[in-house]
Symmetry: C2
Subunit: 106 residues, 2 copies
DNA sequence: TATAAATACAACCATTTGGTTGTGCAAATT
DNA sequence: AATTTGCACAACCAAATGGTTGTATTTATA
């Protein structure tokens, strides 16, 4: 198994989606992200590491505090993929029916 | 760890995205999905099980063959989430600058 | 200076993931 | 009737995931 680090992986976990949502409003430090998250600072730190490796956040050291900014540009890729799939899907009609009709003939 | 079965999980894996893309064009049986996929039928079957549990596909038995149809409605949820995040993010400007200015004053 | 706060780093853990092979069975085909 | 085809089920595997605790280090603050 390969350690996949892409947008899809980034948003696959609900905790990471929560983090992204929080950061969408503006930069926060780790403590602020931990607040009301229900998981430990170390747990959050691991998710931030993943998000960083996915290029979804930028970390800025400021004294002893570390600020996280979201980088949401990559989410475009997800929307593009979804739209492409849905476009194809919209044109799929009657394919199953056609198949069923064909097998009925045999 | 909880076994998460949702759209985000469904599209997190590249093989599953490939399957969804193939199925977007219309229903296929397992053999057709396996073709050129580079992985075994059993491997594909496992992904189909996941996709089924996520509600992303519908399985139709037809003799000894099993046909898979994509159900892409749920992808709306992903797009909605992304748009919500991006909307917030679009309004985030100057928050980090403001913070940095404040700490500079202290 | 002593202490508290913010973080980093490592080890540990159970479960999940994403595959594989191997076996067996039902449905078509020859 | 024998064989092939399509699939289900189980066991196995290494690696990844999503957490935890425990310890050390650096930076502010009282």
């Amino acid at each position: 198994m390969i350690e996949r680090r892409d947008v899809y992986q980034a948003i696959a976990d609900p905790t990471r989606r929560m983090i992204i949502q929080k950061l969408s409003g503006g930069a926060l430090n780790i403590g602020q992200i931990v607040e009301d998250s229900g998981i430990t600072r170390q747990g959050i730190a691991k998710h931030l590491k993943v998000l960083n490796e996915c290029g979804m956040i930028t970390l800025t050291q400021k004294g002893r505090e570390q600020f996280c900014e979201a980088r949401l540009d990559q989410l475009d890729e997800v929307v593009d993929w979804v739209n492409q799939s849905r476009k194809l899907w919209g044109q799929r009609f009657e394919k199953l029916d056609k198949f069923l009709a064909e097998t009925k003939k045999l």
